[in-house]
Point group: C2
Chain length 182, copies 2
């Protein structure tokens, strides 16, 4: 059984990324026979890159780095669910990518960005980064536009399933490509 | 007296950014009458963005955020000394930017990137981010190309002053623009 990781890039306390990611994971479970797991960077809780040597050398000295490497190695493909902050990717996601190197190579990976304008600039910057670590990028990326009206008083989405359902066709195409190449 | 901050973006243990930044700060002290201070993100030691509300609202609840806001407000202009990791900016720098918002507006800012190919892709992605937080970007950015031959056994630069001196003309032009607009 192919293993699909849904990586939650935001670690903010009031993030909507986990809501979207959980509904994307549910969608993936209904539309594929993959073993779908949430990989939540808030739970992973990686420190900022503190390995003494370049990650491309692979000689990690810290147990947190080795554990993160095992987590990524235990997936056959990935969906990265990322917010856009100031036209770019969030720091916890960049740190999680930069902490490893060889583990990303050839991993079929789909970007799902979200934000007031769908987060397409973050997705574009992220694509350049992912190309450098040699993932097998599944295109096109998916961009989910969110608005303040869709949020409750705490800033959470009232109906994340509707937002995900609005992208069903793109998600189905992305999942097909992900699981075919994994 | 105008206050110039030299922001060290890398927080890795074996970083060369502090070496380059210290020599850039020395250069700035010799060529301007600015009060030049190093702002070292390793010392600032910001946690990953954990404010409950959007930084653009400015209602920071954490003392570490308020202290960081005071540090940036206490500068009239900035030089950001940044490595390139995987075609992008490093996570600690993005986190430091995303943690604030209004504090960056109109701040004259020069990017000095470094890397095997000068870090120009990181500088380009960073420019888009800095435009979003409305800094007054000083162009062109400066790109310092480093090679393994320039490093000692621990990975540090043998002669950082020579690397900085090789960019004297660009630095002088950048400092002139920084201090004129600050």
């Amino acid at each position: 059984m192919t293993r699909l990781g849904v990586l939650i890039a935001s670690t903010r306390p009031q993030r909507i990324g986990l809501q979207l990611g959980e509904h994307i994971a549910d969608f993936a479970r209904r539309h594929t026979n993959a073993d779908v797991q949430i990989i939540d960077l808030q739970q992973v809780n990686l420190p900022l890159l503190n390995e003494p040597r370049m990650p491309s050398l692979g000689d990690y000295v810290h147990e947190h780095t080795r554990a993160w490497a095992r987590t990524i190695t235990a997936t056959d493909s990935l969906i990265i669910v990322t917010p856009q902050y100031n036209a770019g990717y969030p720091a916890p996601l960049k740190n999680a990518i930069d902490t490893l190197y060889a583990e990303w190579a050839d991993k079929p990976t789909l970007i799902v960005s979200y934000g007031y304008h769908g987060g397409e600039q973050a997705a574009q910057q992220l694509s350049s980064v992912l190309a450098r670590v040699k993932v097998a990028l599944i295109e096109p990326a998916i961009a989910i536009t969110t608005s303040n009206e869709q949020r409750d008083e705490q800033g959470f989405l009232r109906d994340p399933s509707a937002l995900v359902a609005a992208h069903s066709a793109e998600l189905e195409a992305g999942l097909k490509a992900l699981t075919a190449s994994a």
